[in-house]
């Protein structure tokens, strides 16, 4: 028998370390900040930046579970509608006399149920892709929101509710603290736990995962349900921030969220990417928006920029890394 050298120590390669997509994001992030600073003198101000984060963090809650969904190789475009439905149900119930704390719980429950339905349909009808299932539920969820509230706004929530979107703990926005907690939880779940490992395995090779005893359907349903729950969380903060709600709230959020995830280096082919990338992308896009908003760039131009960023983020790795070995981020 020949001797075999198997080690379980990983080599550290400095080059490999710096060739990661996340460093690219850091560079772009710095670039965006420099650009913003040169565009407007009001940009680089602690209070302004702090308040800016309060404006874009609401949708960031969905980015966290969307990372899981895209790693699975699936997609969920119904999230914005889920936000709208949860928000509308909450406002409607509150105005019908349900106590606000209970309405908040129901808001989260509605989101969770929406996500669960998505997951159930995707798992039970494998021949339909997640694209078409969530496309249909996207219309249905928002449709129900319209049925409930028609084209009216609903609001006048109790004062404490506005704390969610507007409050500070010390000098730190409450929403930022909540996001940080969730971000750490989700990053831990993805990178350190059995569940996260299974998600990566399924994204790379669903069949082999199933053959290895992983309950792939269950994992998928959990991931979609989590996404629904976090859409409910987004609904809370968004509604608090706006003070009232309409059936058309959060329109286009699905694009923003998917753009952030993809820009964060999570491959749409599944199986690759890290939570930190998506979190960096949240702040990158957020600050970019804020900076351009300061110099009165129209919202519509921002739409173009976000769209192009999304295309750029998926196209660049295919062009640059396509010939060499794909970058390994798991």
């Amino acid at each position: 028998m020949d001797t075999r050298i198997i080690t379980n120590k990983r080599d550290f390669s400095l080059k490999g370390f710096f060739l990661q997509w996340e460093w690219m994001l850091v560079l772009i992030f710095i670039g965006v900040n420099i650009m913003n600073m040169s565009l407007s003198e009001y940009y680089w101000d602690y209070n302004n930046l702090r308040d800016a984060t309060m404006n874009f963090l609401d949708k960031a809650f969905i980015v966290l579970p969307m990372v899981f969904i895209i790693i699975l190789g699936d997609i969920d475009i119904s999230v914005a509608s889920t936000v709208a439905l949860s928000s509308v149900v909450m406002a409607d119930l509150y105005n019908m006399g349900v106590p606000m704390p209970l309405a908040v719980v129901i808001c989260l429950a509605v989101g969770t149920v929406c996500g669960f339905i998505n997951g159930l349909l995707v798992v039970k009808y494998k021949e339909l892709s997640a694209v078409i299932v969530t496309l249909a539920t996207m219309i249905i969820y928002r449709g129900i929101a319209y049925i409930l509230l028609e084209d009216q706004a609903s609001g006048s929530f109790p004062d404490w509710f506005s704390f969610l979107g507007w409050g500070y703990v010390g000098s730190i926005p409450f929403i930022l603290i909540v996001f940080a907690v969730f971000a750490i939880l989700f990053a831990f779940l993805l990178h350190k736990t059995v569940f996260g490992r299974r998600v990566y395995a399924m994204g790379n090779n669903s069949t082999a995962s199933f053959f290895s005893g992983i309950q792939v359907g269950k994992v998928k349903i959990i991931v979609f349900t989590l996404t629904g729950l976090m859409a409910g969380v987004t609904a809370l903060f968004l509604t608090s921030r706006m003070g009232s709600t309409r059936p058309n709230v959060a329109t286009g959020y699905e694009l923003d969220v998917i753009a952030m995830v993809v820009l964060g280096g999570i491959s749409t082919a599944g199986g690759k990417g890290r939570m930190i990338g998506a979190i960096l992308a949240v702040f990158l896009i957020g600050f970019l928006r804020y900076g351009l908003g300061l110099v009165n760039v129209q919202a519509q131009v921002l739409l173009i920029i976000i769209g192009l960023l999304l295309i750029f983020a998926v196209a660049v790795p295919k062009l640059k890394w396509g010939k060499n070995k794909p970058r390994k981020l798991t």
Binding site: I75, I77, L121, Y125, E127, L128, S129, V131, I132, V133, L135, A136, T137, M138, I139, I140, Y141, R142, G143, I144, Y146, I147, E150, D151, P247, G252, E254, L255, I258, A259, V262, T268, Q298, Q300, V301, L302, L303, I304, I306, G307, L308, L310, I311, V314, A315, K318, L319
Partner: protein, 349 residues
């Protein structure tokens, strides 16, 4: 050889009577679907008519038909995209952008021939489609991601082109608006154009090599490559066709409603997808018929028109449309499973 040959086929087919040709089960399902759709359309019309006699008036039918014309033109393009296992979410935005540019141009040059305006709109749409085709076919971006991204780019460009303002009726020359109301051979222009497109698309899909290659690519992409079909070209082509038709629809839309706005046809892609799915275009790719999507479009067109007439709040429309898409794809899936199970039962163990 001949007599023995037939015994083999008999053994293979698992039937005692070798001479009776075996009808294809799934083919009969497809026929059943179209018949079912037709029956449903008739029942729905009768039902609505009983509730509200103004439904089947000439005016209302004309209105429905012109609306359906635009929807079905887009559904033709979407059918080809879905056959290749793709999807295009950007068509509402492409439609708006082409319509906006055409409207601005005719506003600037009121003497312009409406035909030129149509060509201009189609050109803009074609460029949008070519960009998408490039992203999907050449760079290999998932259709859902590419079209989601470009949807926003096109929508943003529409706002920018319009300077955030509407182009309203009085800014458009009469010749342009007349396009939607005029008629050729006694048929409304929009309907006439739609009919021409059905005929061309039918011929293209069923009687040209390229058309059949679209089906082949969707039915089995790996085989298509082995049999030497240029799959990239086919993908590029379907998105270009979709873009061109969106451009055409954009001009017609703007002429019909006599206004071009930044949010024209926002979300309309969903109706188009619904029409395709209802018409039996398989999301898994490879199958779809023009006759099916026409029926699908007509059904949707009637529903959109009829719901307000029978006092269903317009706010229900979204939800109903979503439910239709979901039910249609679920029924498709369940029927497919039934066919597969049936095929298994035929196997002798």
């Amino acid at each position: 050889m001949d007599d023995k040959g037939s015994t083999m086929a008999a053994a293979l087919a698992g039937e005692p009577h070798a001479n009776t040709p075996k009808p294809s089960f799934s083919a009969s399902i497809a026929k059943f679907r179209e018949l079912g759709l037709l029956v449903f359309i008739i029942l729905l019309s009768v039902g609505v008519q009983l509730r509200n006699p103004s439904f089947l008036t000439w005016e209302n039918i004309n209105d429905m038909a012109t609306n359906t014309a635009i929807l079905s033109i887009l559904a033709v393009g979407m059918m080809f995209v879905i056959i290749t296992r793709g999807i295009d979410l950007s068509i509402g935005a492409t439609l708006a952008l082409s319509g906006m540019i055409a409207a601005l141009t005719v506003g600037e040059f009121p003497g312009m021939n409406p035909i030129l305006a149509i060509l201009l709109g189609m050109g803009v749409g074609l460029v949008c489609g070519i960009v998408l085709g490039f992203l999907v076919a050449k760079i290999g971006i998932l259709p859902i991601i590419a079209t989601l991204g470009m949807m926003n780019v096109f929508r943003g460009l529409t706002y920018v082109a319009g300077g955030g303002k509407w182009v309203s009726a009085h800014q458009m020359p009469a010749s342009f608006k007349d396009m939607a109301t005029g008629s050729i051979l006694g048929i409304n222009n929009l309907i006439f154009i739609a009919l021409i497109i059905y005929v061309i698309a039918y011929y293209f899909a069923n009687h040209t090599r390229t058309g059949r290659q679209i089906y082949a690519v969707g039915s089995n992409p790996e085989s298509a490559k082995i049999s030497g079909i240029n799959t990239d070209k086919i993908l590029w082509l379907v998105y270009a066709i979709m873009g061109g038709l969106s451009g055409l629809a954009g001009v017609l839309w703007v002429a019909k409603f006599a206004s071009a706005q930044g949010d024209t046809a926002s979300g309309y892609e969903l109706s188009v997808i619904a029409a395709c799915v209802l018409g039996g275009v398989s999301i898994a790719g490879g199958s779809g018929k023009i006759s099916g999507i026409i029926l699908g479009s007509v059904l949707l067109g009637i529903m959109n028109n009829a719901l307000p007439l029978i006092n269903v709040s317009p706010f229900w429309q979204n939800g109903i449309q979503g439910a239709i898409i979901l039910i249609a794809v679920l029924v498709n899936a369940i029927v497919k499973r039934g066919v597969d199970r049936n095929n298994l039962m035929r196997r002798k163990i």
